[in-house]
């Protein structure tokens, strides 16, 4: 049978109507003024009500909702953490968003994200056939093998200490400076920032030594460099 519904999460932008006074008449007249100035800005739209003050009048919300409906504005929800207002919202038939928009919280998250992007993803095990590892916004180190049929992907550089027999992608989001470092290179495929090369194209000289794979800045082709240390 074909599907009748499916559920999908999305983010909408909705106008928020901030309430700064608990005097219903004052609120009504200000809304009217707004509509006079710009009719299309409001009418036919759905809004979320966010009271910035205590609403001591128990019928305030009910009156406001009715008033908005008359103006063809559709109140869908209320954003508040106040228990009394939540109760009023229930009577007025509004959904409740309880999390407040907290600026400091968002800023904290950003900082956290920055520290994350510095961190490197470290895989100690072998990556086996059919397994797929993606290091988003960071470098990736694999200590074990990358077996045939496995894929390791990073937005940054990729370092692999074990044998490479699978697929390796560095700079997966387009970072052309990304590099691959390998000890034993016999991959199904290598790719840096979208440029790729299959196993057959790799010079045998680079398969059994420590090698750096990068993109040539002029020709954008994949190039190999043996890394040698003084003994």
């Amino acid at each position: 049978m074909s599907q009748a519904i499916n559920l999908q999460e999305t983010v909408f932008s909705v106008t928020v109507l901030n309430i700064l006074s608990d005097d219903i008449e004052q609120v009504k007249s200000e809304i009217n003024q707004h509509i006079k100035k710009n009719y299309s800005l409001f009418t036919g739209k759905s809004v979320v009500i966010e009271p910035k003050i205590e609403l001591n009048d128990p019928v305030f919300l009910a009156l406001l909702v009715e008033f908005l409906y008359q103006l063809e504005i559709i109140p869908v929800a209320i954003r508040t953490q106040n228990e009394k207002i939540k109760l009023q919202a229930e009577y007025a038939g509004l959904a409740v968003f309880s999390e407040a928009f907290d600026k400091t919280k968002i800023e904290d998250e950003k900082i956290f994200d920055q520290t994350l992007s510095i961190k490197t993803a470290l895989i100690i095990n072998n990556v086996r056939s059919g397994q797929h590892i993606y290091a988003k916004n960071r470098d990736l180190i694999v200590m074990g093998y990358v077996n045939p049929g496995a894929e390791v992907i990073a937005d940054g550089n990729v370092h692999i200490y074990g044998k490479i027999l699978g697929k390796v992608f560095a700079g997966a989001s387009g970072l052309k400076q990304a590099k691959i470092f390998a000890n034993n290179l016999n991959p199904e495929m290598l790719s840096i920032a979208g440029r790729y090369q299959l196993s057959g194209k790799i010079n045998k000289n680079y398969k059994q030594c420590f090698v750096e794979v990068s993109l040539d800045s002029e020709s954008s082709s994949i190039k190999y460099r043996k890394v040698l240390w003084d003994e």
Binding site: R128, S129, G130, Q131, G144, N147
Partner: protein, 269 residues
């Protein structure tokens, strides 16, 4: 606490059920209580290999679906004491099995005090195989000395790492063992077959044992008598070694090289 061991391979026909049957019998011969479960719903084979196909009243699916109790469904083995078989259903299909159903059966077997619970996995990496390895503490991965089955073994090891209950709950990982079956040292010597050390390097898990290719396996399967019960054959010795190593005994790997020809066979070549 019972050890739950899944016998799996990814590829079909490499000897999962033969190995499950022989290991179960071997453990029971050593005095442990063993339950062996056939997870291959719809394509049951284990009962044939154990010679108990005529004794099945209730099966695994009946217990998983609360239609029978575990004691009703367990079949006492006719070869050894302490061994019980939970046959699979021949009628249902793999989708009839659920995580809850399997968990119920495994818990009931653990509660009944079995020392070993051997789960004979179906081939593939679909639901049936994933459910068989879901509750495993240990995994015996079977492979043949050919590149396709080694690749599939690698794949199933990845699936174990990703989907087993232990990995999902961040417990210590599933203990992995490798069993190489149908090994022919002569062919390896001639370069026609993958060598054991090469396979161990590729898969990078400890080798539990190597079972040589032998004709007795076929006749054992057809007669419903686990091959480990044969007296003095290489295959039965190999399985006895595997059981011993599973119990932590330290015994040297055998059957890795060509058997030395005796005086007479060298003369009458």
């Amino acid at each position: 606490m019972g050890r739950v061991i899944v016998v799996t391979s990814g590829k079909g026909g490499v000897g999962k059920t033969t190995t499950s049957a022989s290991i179960s019998v071997g453990l029971a011969l050593k005095g442990y209580t063993v339950a062996v479960i056939d997870f291959d719903v719809g394509l049951r084979n284990l009962d044939l290999m154990m010679g108990c196909e005529k004794n099945i009243v209730h099966d695994f699916l009946n217990v998983a679906k609360n239609q029978a109790s575990i004691t009703q469904a367990l079949i006492a083995d006719k070869w050894v004491k302490n061994l019980y078989i939970l046959a699979s259903s021949q009628t249902g299909n793999k989708d009839d099995l659920t995580t809850q159903g399997v968990s119920k059966v495994i818990d009931a077997l653990k509660k009944a005090g079995f020392d070993f619970i051997i789960c004979d996995s179906p081939a593939g990496i679909e639901k049936g195989a994933k459910l068989a390895l879901h509750y495993a503490d240990e995994a015996i991965v079977i492979t043949n000395p050919e590149i396709t089955s080694v690749r599939d073994a690698d794949r199933i090891l990845g699936v174990i790492q990703d989907t087993s209950k232990r990995s999902k709950e961040n417990k210590s990982p599933v203990l992995e063992h490798l069993v190489l079956t149908r090994y022919q040292p002569t062919k390896v010597k001639n370069g026609e077959m993958l060598a054991v050390d090469k396979i161990v390097t590729m898969l990078d898990i400890p080798l539990l044992g190597v079972v040589p290719e032998a004709e007795q396996v076929l006749s054992a399967i057809n007669s419903g008598r686990p091959v480990i019960l044969d007296k003095g054959t290489d295959v039965s010795e190999a399985y006895k070694d595997i059981v011993a190593r599973l119990l932590g005994e330290d015994c040297q790997q055998r059957f890795l090289t060509e058997p030395k020809k005796g005086f007479f066979s060298r003369i009458f070549k």
